[in-house]
């Protein structure tokens, strides 16, 4: 079941088109930086972008930071919103459920496929970022770099923390995926499900800018998205990273339970 769903997701040309489009923006930014040599001042623009001119190995992080606020969540929302509603709209959900498999198992398989998409996307963005960064900018293979706190990080430390950051960004997207999947069980329209998940994200991002919303800020799904920067402080500031992981876990748990409650008892007519 899971294998079938994975093959379905990655067998579609549109999955790979989405990933390719996602990579276009960081590549464009890298080319522009290379041509103009105009890096944003440190502390402005996406995190780490200011540092890539001197160390191209940081470009995977800058690439993730570029797609993290908007592009990546849109892609995840579209794919996850399509998971169940897409089958319903295509009229294939009925046949899918006619097979002797439980609806819970179908839901789990869909979730695994969406998670795999998130992971592959994040890794591809980071890998393309690394290629672009080392090709276009000076790489510093020996003296790896400076942490946000002004201490030196060895190449191994930098690589390890970059891997952690890639993992963290992937986990941050799980909440979006869970919203998309839940909405996908509510409606037969994949577009409505994806837009629903995006509406949640826009609401969350907007509320985070308001002081009046600060009492609920720690519970907003996008609150800890930028915490991957904390992995590059010295010592690492785990506080927000841990909270971010826990928060995504809570959203995934609650929304999947809700999706299960809705989907296993839903009248499937299409």
């Amino acid at each position: 079941m899971i294998g079938v769903e994975l093959r379905k997701t990655f067998g579609r040309p549109r999955t790979w088109t989405t990933i390719a489009v996602l990579n276009a923006l960081p590549v464009l930014v890298a080319v522009l930086l290379r041509i103009t040599d105009l890096a944003p001042r440190p502390g402005e623009g996406p995190p780490f972008l200011s540092a890539v001119l001197t160390n191209g190995q940081l470009y995977p992080l800058a690439a993730l930071a570029i797609v993290l606020p908007l592009f990546l969540p849109i892609a995840v929302a579209v794919v996850s919103g399509d998971a169940v509603a897409g089958e319903a709209q295509a009229g294939t959900l009925r046949y899918l459920l006619a097979r002797p498999v439980g609806r819970t198992r179908l839901l789990v398989a869909k979730l695994v496929a969406v998670l795999a998409f998130v992971l592959v996307t994040v890794v591809v963005v980071a890998a393309v970022g690394y290629l672009v960064g080392t090709l276009l900018f000076d790489a510093q293979p020996v003296a790896a770099g400076t942490s946000v706190s002004g201490t030196s990080l060895t190449a191994e430390q930098l690589a390890g923390r970059t891997l952690l950051a890639i993992g963290y960004v992937a986990v941050s997207m799980l909440g979006v995926a869970a919203f998309g999947l839940f909405f996908s069980t509510l409606t037969d329209s994949p577009l409505a499900a994806a837009l629903g998940a995006l509406a949640v994200l826009v609401t969350s991002s907007l509320l985070l800018t308001l002081d009046a919303a600060s009492p609920i800020a720690p519970y907003l799904p996008t609150r800890y998205w930028l915490a991957f920067v904390d992995l590059f402080r010295d010592p690492v500031l785990w506080r927000d990273v841990v909270r971010g992981l826990a928060l995504q876990g809570v959203y995934v748990g609650v929304l999947l339970t809700a999706a299960w409650a809705n989907f296993t008892t839903k009248d499937v007519t299409s």
Partner: protein, 367 residues
């Protein structure tokens, strides 16, 4: 499937959500254990806590919007914004305070010889010698340091106990300071002190007539283990620009030397007695005690001109015969320009009336 099963499934979801929503409230409602410690004893323990080693994460929120964001951006941000700080404290002259921003940080590393200030945003490291007079910096807002400073000159009759509260997961005993000086603009200072070590864990400063604190700084996490020396020490990285230190005292002396006939500072201003400050030039005067302080400092001409136009444009500024005056929470600021003399800046935690009286005394005008 039956409607019964559906209802049961949604009940599971509702129960899960209810439990998750109730968790933060339950944790927040954990009772704090009060101890029968008199206020004077608690103050003594807090003031003596500079040697307690710890590391922690603190957040300070300021509501003081001073119109000095152009001249002193660091100070303006510090007093008006939410500042998240990581603290590693080995002792009074060996500690590190990082101000953590969304995409950067500013670290202040203090050692017995001075301080290193690392700024990630500009990739600069600045070395400052220990100074008697310095602008407010992030380490001053660490609850432990601020609590000690505010309590250092409190008298026993100004202090009272206000129960206990949980701060950073520890039982913190409340200590309230209500300044006795009539000129005081601070209504009260609440300091929450760790019962075991005397470490101030949270500080709230409430201005006269206000309901919300003008300054609220508290630890969210605190760990009483001694942090390793390597975390506190700092060596500028190879690619950083190393800047020379700022010389606040030199700036003040320069201003004072330039004026031909400096105003002779009186021994008392607005009912507050003058006090001696080590290392400060004679033209700088500090008056009052405890949390009721008034500082008088000469300003170089170019600074005074800039400040004059900023103050004039600031909302709520009061202009009278003796100068232009503004207040932000408990903090009052007035620029006076006595005849045949340079400009003077008066700033302190005194009431607007006391500030006006002090300005009038300096300019020789009837108050």
């Amino acid at each position: 499937m039956s409607g019964h099963g559906r209802a049961r499934r949604w009940a599971v979801v509702a129960a899960l959500v209810a439990v998750l929503l109730a968790l933060p409230a339950l944790v927040g409602a954990l009772p704090a254990e009060d101890a029968d410690v008199p206020a004077a004893e608690l103050r003594a323990a807090a003031v003596a806590s500079a040697g307690v080693a710890f590391s922690g994460y603190a957040v300070s929120a300021g509501g003081l919007s001073l119109p000095v964001s152009e001249q002193l951006p660091g100070v303006a941000d510090l007093l008006s914004d939410r500042t998240a700080m990581r603290v590693w404290w080995r002792g009074p002259d060996e500690h590190r305070v990082d101000v953590v921003g969304a995409a950067g940080e500013t670290g202040v590393h203090t050692d017995p010889g001075g301080t290193w200030t690392w700024e990630f945003e500009s990739a600069t490291a600045r070395r400052d010698a220990p100074a008697a007079l310095a602008l407010p910096a992030p380490p001053d807002l660490v609850p432990a340091a601020l609590g000690r400073r505010l309590l250092s000159e409190a008298t026993d009759d100004e202090l009272s106990r206000i129960g206990a509260r949980r701060v950073a997961g520890r039982d913190a005993l409340g200590l309230r300071l209500v300044p006795a000086a009539p000129a005081a603009s601070v209504a009260r200072v609440d300091v929450w002190v760790d019962g075991g070590t005397g470490l101030p864990l949270a500080v709230e400063v409430v201005a006269d007539g206000a309901t919300v604190p003008a300054l609220d700084t508290r630890f969210l996490d605190v760990d009483l283990a001694t942090p390793p020396a390597g975390v506190v020490a700092f060596t500028p990285p190879a690619e950083a620009r190393v800047l020379p230190g700022e010389d606040t005292g030199g700036l003040l002396r320069e201003a004072a030397d330039r004026e031909l006939s400096p105003v002779r500072l009186p021994a008392e201003l607005a009912g507050l007695a003058r006090r001696a400050v080590d290392g400060a030039p004679a033209t700088v005067g500090l008056y009052g005690s405890g949390v009721t302080l008034l500082a008088v400092a000469p300003l170089p001409g170019r600074l005074a001109a800039g400040l004059r136009s900023t103050l004039a444009a600031a909302p709520g500024a009061v202009r009278d015969g003796s100068g232009t005056r503004i207040t932000a929470g408990p903090l009052g600021l007035v620029l006076v320009e006595p005849p045949r003399s340079g400009a003077y800046l008066l700033v302190g935690t005194v009431t607007p009336d006391a500030l006006a009286e002090a300005a009038a005394t300096l300019t020789g005008a009837p108050s």
